[in-house]
């Protein structure tokens, strides 16, 4: 190993380790969770085009733009020195059989599908972005995360046959770097003009047809209609479509209620959703809205988060300890941080009713409800789109 190669190997290994630490998050500050997935200029550009908004602001746009600038000057420097996924796929290089199992490069095709579909409002295939893929590893404990998460072991396995097949033949971000390189960009574009045309002819119809298809696709999977998902506070209207499944929000949630959805229609496949069996969306917490690299969750101020209504709780009276069993309960009211449970006196027993003007859908009631005879008696139903509460307590 030459001196430069040795240095490079060391740097890459350190960056890979750091990236995995950031992805897993845990007690680290929330913004660290955002570093890796937000470094991708492909995500920044495609999402901004698709959503017609510069969601990232100035601060979080600078690093990916710096990466893009680096590519303009130095081509694939990022891939060779910095990319954690590239490092991972480079590890089996020495053991690789060096066989060509994927003879043609598809990276240009994937790239142009993403770009053209984004122009028409749908950042299709953007979950293939390598930095979102790395970040996804932070949600390894979620079973449904392995549907998009399988990409990593699969590509690692392929690397044993064809060295770094992902990086050279498939990665859309790598292709963006090739195109951006001032020295070789033109030539690369010219070389791949057929894939450009094919990408456009797949991406544009896909973006136009997908929204009409997606309603029937749930049935196409042969499942009954899945429960509508409660989404993290700040979720954009097209949350399911704009999310790249990087799971930064899943890893950063301190109460562990942002989970990976299993089932549902194709557009909602493995998307993050809120489930309240293990915790609640805490009144003072605003972490998930700070980490999303795609704008699928809009950044909220703490004040905005506090008045954001992500859903409304409804009571199943026949399961309720107070309404049906005439027990002194009111645990829903006890745990509601927003005083959104009204007390209705039935004789001496207080019974709960939800005030829809105050309820945020935080799930404190659903989480705490002690009813067991017929299951829980209070559930949060999502609001789509999310709103700002009308009432003040």
């Amino acid at each position: 190993m030459s001196k430069v190669n040795g240095l490079r190997f060391g740097v890459r290994l350190i960056l890979l380790t750091a990236a995995l630490f950031f992805a897993i998050g845990g007690p680290l500050p929330a913004w660290m969770e955002r570093i890796v997935p937000s470094l991708s200029p492909l995500v920044l550009i495609a999402e901004s085009i698709a959503q017609r908004t510069w969601y990232a602001g100035v601060f979080w746009a600078l690093p990916p733009l710096a990466v893009l600038l680096l590519a303009m000057l130095k081509g694939r420097f990022f891939c060779q020195w910095l990319c954690p996924l590239g490092t991972l796929y480079a590890l089996p290089q020495k053991l690789s059989l060096k066989k060509k199992i994927l003879p043609i490069r598809l990276n240009a095709l994937i790239f142009w599908i993403i770009v053209s579909a984004s122009l028409f409002g749908l950042p299709a295939l953007l979950f293939l972005d390598p930095l979102s893929t790395v970040s996804r590893a932070g949600a390894w404990a979620e079973a449904a995360a392995w549907i998009p998460g399988l990409l990593i072991p699969l590509m690692l396995l392929l690397s044993f046959f064809q060295p770094q097949v992902w990086c050279t033949h498939l990665c859309p971000l790598g292709y963006l770097f090739d195109l951006a390189n001032v020295r070789s960009g033109k030539r690369v574009f010219h070389r791949d003009r057929r894939q450009f045309i094919t990408g456009l002819s797949i991406g544009i119809p896909a973006a136009l047809l997908f929204p009409t298809l997606r309603h029937s696709s749930g049935q196409a999977f042969g499942k009954k209609k899945s429960k509508p998902s409660v989404l993290p506070p700040g979720a954009a209207e097209k949350f399911a479509e704009t999310c790249t499944r990087c799971y930064a929000c899943v890893s950063v949630c301190p109460t562990g209620i942002i989970r990976v959805k299993s089932g549902g229609s194709l557009n909602e496949l493995s998307m993050p959703e809120l489930r309240f069996d293990n915790g609640t969306c805490e009144e003072s917490c605003n972490r998930c809205s700070q980490v999303c690299p795609t704008g699928a969750i809009r950044r909220l101020t703490d004040e905005q988060k506090h008045v954001t209504q992500i859903g409304i709780a409804t009571i199943k009276k026949e399961s309720c300890l107070a309404w049906t069993d005439h027990e002194y309960c009111m645990v829903c009211d006890e745990y509601c941080p927003y005083s959104a449970i009204k007390l209705i006196e039935q004789g001496d027993v207080a019974c709960p009713e939800v005030d829809p003007e105050l309820c945020r859908g935080c799930g404190a009631c659903e989480n705490a409800c002690p009813a067991i005879r017929a299951g829980k008696a209070i559930f949060v139903h999502p609001l789509k789109p999310q709103q700002t509460v009308k009432g003040t307590a």
Partner: protein, 300 residues
Amino acid sequence: MQKLSRREFVKVGAAGSVALVAAPSVKAAEKPKTEVWVFKGADNRALMEKCMKTIFANGGFGPNAKTVALKVNAGWERTPEQAANTHPELVDVFLEKALASGVSVVIPEHPCHRAEKSFPASGIQQVADKHNVKMIDLKTNKNSFKEIAIPEGKTLKKEQVAREFLDADAVVNMPVAKHHSGGKLTICMKNWMGAIEGRKLWHVKGLHQCIADFSSFMKPTWAIVDATRCMTSKGPQGPSPDMIYPQQVILSKDQVAADTVAARLFHDDPLEVVNYLAIARDMGIGETDVGNMNIHNIQI
């Protein structure tokens, strides 16, 4: 004790029987009244300092007590002003004086919100840290719980209790008094729901009976009620628009008596409103009749 001769025994016994029959009030008079101290004043620290003096003037934490388990309320991510948790100034003085007396103190608490949020928000984490006292988060330390039997319990026959309370030489119950939608009021007796594991089930089994049942088992060495500021609606979490400021600390060895006296800040006849107090009276767990209490009103 001097031995009585048979003759003397008969004499005394006969005289006693006559007295008992003749004057039924004698029996009540023989039973000592329950001591309750009510400290009133604007300065929280001064209130608590007087309260601690009273504790040490009345036996402290018991002879040879080395360890004290303190049950505060630090369950909600709410500020001290919002009155959902025990006031940290009171806890601060308690720890200062208790530690100075030579005992060690732990503060186990099963919070409603995550401890990472509720302990610091309550301000109690900070005073505990200041005195090097450990707060134990019973939400995450599940193996703290140990099953105990409740022999006098009507509905609640057994419960999982944090072993810190079982192992300590003395237990002090130090809640804030506040409104509660299910329990009507939560003061000392209901505060034990933060010392056990299975509180969710209490609502299913019958909340008020379970509260009374558990209090028949768990009797503190001292009950100290924070009634410096109280929510009279939207409890136990608040924030409440209906605050009262009695500026009181209520102290007793009998948590039922302390609850009764504190409850009178909220209701003229608390036993009519707060079912678990009436149940406690019927089960004879503690004193609910203020006529049988020696209430020392101490202005500070």
